[in-house]
């Protein structure tokens, strides 16, 4: 396979080991750990979808959660109204894909008229809020801010089984999104991030490309939303909120923007830290103020790892390479 050719043996081996470890973990873990890791997988996809936007097109979407939340709601509404079986699940997936690409299209048409990063951030913030408000008021269907619990197809009910589904979902989405950013279109998106005007003068219709990027991100996010809905068997308007979008931003920044895989690391780190902090409350009363520590994590990440974990790693590798090179030169002299 082409994909494998591009990786060196070491990476391949490491990935293999990781996969094996991940496959056997559920058989040695408690349910809450399994749930936590499943959640990490799903939010990693959500984070990657955000990275496509933020890292590869430079577009800060503060309404990104609307795709994610919609995915969860669509799944919930479908399961509640049409039965909780796999056919309905398939329907929910299709409807989510259509809905997200449509929503992304509309969002793109409104946002991509020019006006800069901050204006785009604010418009998307507003759009996200509008959708959240609609969900909140459409109580007959969404049950408003109380949230919507729902039953899920039996195949997903087993938590260990679902862990594997989530893992497979993550792997598939990683491969697909990686292909996307390595595609010619993905490259153009990077160009647009750097300098939109210049890309136009190379003959790229930047608004079309950005629309494609937004749609891919939206669909990926929506699919992650479905999975998240199934994991929790619950959807509520928080999933559509700015806070939920900011979670994605946090995940990508912790992992490293524009690195794609960063989101996986970021998701693992952020969720693990939060979980750990919540567990610590029985250790010492200071951890009842876990929010203080959680907030401090944001600050520390930005201050000391502005490039995130993956960025830090890349930098370390680069440094090692340059050092090697200089040594080689010195020896040569």
């Amino acid at each position: 396979m082409k994909l494998l050719n591009n990786m060196d043996k070491k990476t391949f081996l490491a990935l293999g080991v990781l996969l094996v470890v991940l496959s056997i973990i559920p058989h040695f873990s408690k349910l809450s750990t399994i749930t936590l890791i499943s959640r990490i997988f799903i939010l990693a996809v959500y984070g990657m979808s955000y990275d496509i936007l933020r890292g590869y097109t430079g577009f800060i979407n503060l309404g990104h959660a609307l795709f994610f939340g919609s995915g969860a709601y669509i799944a919930g509404i479908f399961f509640t109204n049409f039965g909780n079986n796999l056919v309905v699940f398939g329907m929910a997936v299709i409807v989510t894909v259509v809905f997200c690409s449509l929503a992304a299209y509309i969002m793109g048409k409104i946002v991509l008229r020019g006006g800069g990063v901050i204006a785009a951030a604010m418009i998307t913030l507003a759009l996200g809020e509008i959708v959240r408000n609609i969900a909140e008021r459409w109580r007959s269907v969404t049950m408003g801010a109380d949230g919507l619990p729902f039953k899920i197809p039996d195949v997903f009910r087993d938590r260990i089984g679902f862990y594997y589904y989530a893992l497979i979902f993550l792997i598939i989405m990683t491969v697909v999104l990686r292909q996307f950013i390595l595609s010619p279109t993905g490259r153009v998106l990077m160009a647009i991030r750097e300098n939109e005007q210049r890309a136009e003068f190379l003959g790229y219709e930047t608004s079309k490309y950005k629309l494609i990027g937004l749609q891919v991100a939206g669909i990926a996010s929506g699919l992650a939303g479905i999975m998240f809905g199934i994991l929790n068997r619950f959807a509520n308007t928080d999933l559509l909120s700015v806070q939920q979008t900011l979670n994605a931003l946090l995940i990508t920044l912790v992992g490293g923007t524009g690195t794609l895989y960063g989101a996986i690391v970021g998701s693992a780190f952020v969720n693990a830290v939060q979980n750990y902090l919540l567990n610590l409350r029985s250790v010492h009363p200071i951890f009842e103020r876990w929010l203080l520590f959680f907030g401090a994590m944001y600050v520390i990440v930005v201050l000391f790892m502005p490039e995130g974990f993956v960025g830090l790693w890349n930098k370390y590798m680069k440094e090692r390479r340059t050092k090697k090179n200089t040594k080689a030169i010195e020896k040569g002299l």
Binding site: S183, P184, E200, L202
Partner: protein
């Protein structure tokens, strides 16, 4: 008579009260090398902006290959075969030098909106990119981020990118400003070869010796309007041009 490639008709644009370009009508034949000269602020760059579609004229029309392109977007004009470089360096600063040129190449080759094919699969594209980098003397800098290049190197990159577009008409806005003396001849060489391939070139430049060796015709623009047009030698002896533009020759340019 050769085919007219670019024609402007009474082209004008005003910024408030200031007419930056004022009723310019020019007509450029295919394959010709034209240089536009004029004092600072004469409106040369603005004229380029109008032709390439960055600005919309307040008056007048632009024809490219016989069609009226006045209402078309820059992208559409590029697709018709127009390529331009910028006076203030304008590259993708956080992408590598190689990627900068490759992207230009990809645009030219019209790869299309492929979203799941690896970009590295397009072999011929990669080879051609290497060639261009070689040509503009940036081969050893190909893995540097464009933003890490020195000013002169960025100018070369800028030139490389438009060359990769292989346009029918090439609009170059002071491509050699800030380029070191020893590299200017190489650039002149590149331009010569490009012209030989049949590309129509319009150049804005202040280096007189370079202009004279390259151009088939000169157009002098002063205060937004065309002053004279014609053979390089003749025009550069025109007293008005001497006064408005060239000055008294206090500095002796070293001859090339």
């Amino acid at each position: 008579m050769a085919e007219t490639l670019i024609r402007t008709e009474n082209l004008s644009i005003s910024f408030g009260a200031h007419k930056a370009v004022n009723g310019v009508s020019i007509s450029l034949e295919k394959g010709l090398f034209t240089t536009i000269l004029g004092p600072n602020g004469a409106g040369k760059t603005t004229l380029f902006n109008l032709i390439s579609g960055l600005l919309k004229p307040t008056e007048g029309k632009i024809f490219f290959k016989g069609t009226d392109v006045t209402g078309l977007s820059p992208v559409e004009r590029v697709k018709m075969g127009m390529g331009r470089s910028f006076q203030l360096t304008n590259v993708f600063s956080r992408l590598t030098t190689y990627e900068n040129v490759r992207l230009a190449m990809q645009a030219h080759e019209e790869v299309g909106y492929k979203i799941f094919t690896d970009h590295r699969r397009f072999k011929s594209l990669n080879e051609k990119t290497e060639e261009i980098l070689e040509e503009v003397l940036l081969k050893d800098k190909k893995d540097f981020l464009a933003g890490e290049l020195s000013h002169g190197e960025q100018r070369k990159l800028e030139l490389g990118m438009v060359l990769a577009l292989e346009p029918e008409v090439l609009l170059l806005d002071e491509p050699t400003a800030g380029m070191s003396i020893e590299e200017v001849p190489t650039m002149i060489d590149i331009l010569r070869r490009t012209k030989k391939k049949g590309t129509t070139i319009i150049l804005i430049e202040h280096k007189m010796d370079m202009v004279k060796t390259l151009s088939d015709q000169l157009i002098i623009i002063v205060n937004g309007a065309k002053l004279v047009e014609g053979d390089p030698e003749e025009v550069s002896r025109n007293p008005e041009v001497l006064k408005a533009y060239l000055g008294g020759g206090v500095l002796n340019e070293p001859t090339t």
